[in-house]
């Protein structure tokens, strides 16, 4: 058996106004693949968090004068049993994405001590089956969700 991969790409400005377009595209692709409503909701949040990071990198990039440096590239990689979403930005001053925290930064603390830093990264980790972060020239986040069908269609 040969695994068939199909790729859909989006190349959009790295601004907050485009993150919902990425969500709508994700919804279309994931629904067509047969993901459950709950899984799609999980992916929507995780992908948005990755895009938010790309947008913030672009904002923080002082020398981001060329429009190419202020764009993000999203790849939806469809395989028979999973969907991977790759979010790549060109921010040279990328905020260091540390190892994704396994527990929420808000859990088990008092109001005085809670802090929402790291929340986006935690959510990506908690909502997806696999998260990979690569920081070289820009940051590349790969999010993977396995396709679990309640019934296999003939």
């Amino acid at each position: 058996m040969k695994a068939i991969e199909e790729v859909v790409q989006l190349h959009v400005p790295a601004t907050a106004e485009y993150v919902d377009l990425v969500r709508v595209t994700l919804y279309g692709i994931a629904a067509k693949m047969g993901f459950s409503y709950e899984d799609i909701e999980d992916m929507k949040v995780a992908v948005s968090e990755a895009c938010n990071n790309a947008v913030l990198h672009a904002y923080n990039h002082e020398a981001a004068t060329s429009s190419e440096e202020r764009r993000m590239h999203i790849e939806f990689v469809k395989s028979p049993h999973a969907l991977s979403i790759v979010v790549q930005d060109n921010g040279h001053n990328a905020i260091a994405l540390a190892e994704a925290p396994r527990t929420s930064p808000l859990l088990g603390k008092s109001i005085e001590d809670i802090n929402s830093g790291g929340l986006g990264l935690y959510l990506m980790q908690a909502l997806m089956d696999q998260v990979e972060v690569l920081s070289e020239a820009g940051t590349r986040v790969t999010l993977t969700k396995r396709l679990v069908r309640s019934e296999e269609l003939a």
């Binding site: 993150v19 949040v45 968090e49 929420s104 859990l107 109001i111 809670i114 986006g120």
Partner: protein, 107 residues
């Protein structure tokens, strides 16, 4: 984008109580709008501040981060802040992050 997905905010003030109704998608795009709208309401420490999420379709870590900052500001001035009518998909995220116990009304 469907009109219903857009973020809307409406404030209803009654005696001793200020309720903010948010609908649509509460994300990075509307963060500054939401911060600006909440700032004067946070100062009204003689009133209860309530956020109604009945028609909210989506929230991300930016939105949750704003809830955390409102919580902290209200706590510092010993004024109340709570969230009501949380839709199930949003409640799931609140539970995952551990923010739920801080948001529910303590009587």
């Amino acid at each position: 984008m469907n009109q219903q997905d857009k973020f809307h905010l409406r404030t209803e003030t009654t005696e001793g109580k200020c309720t903010v109704y948010v609908s649509g998608e509460f994300d990075l795009e509307v963060a500054s709008q939401m911060r600006a709208a909440m700032a004067p309401l946070i100062e009204l420490t003689d009133r209860e501040l309530i956020l109604n999420l009945k028609d909210l379709q989506y929230i991300d870590s930016t939105g949750i981060g704003i809830l955390v900052s409102v919580l902290k500001a209200r706590h510092a001035s010993q004024a109340s802040f709570s969230v009501e009518a949380i839709p199930p998909t949003i409640r799931k995220l609140f539970d995952m992050t551990g923010i739920t116990p801080f948001l529910l009304r303590h009587s």
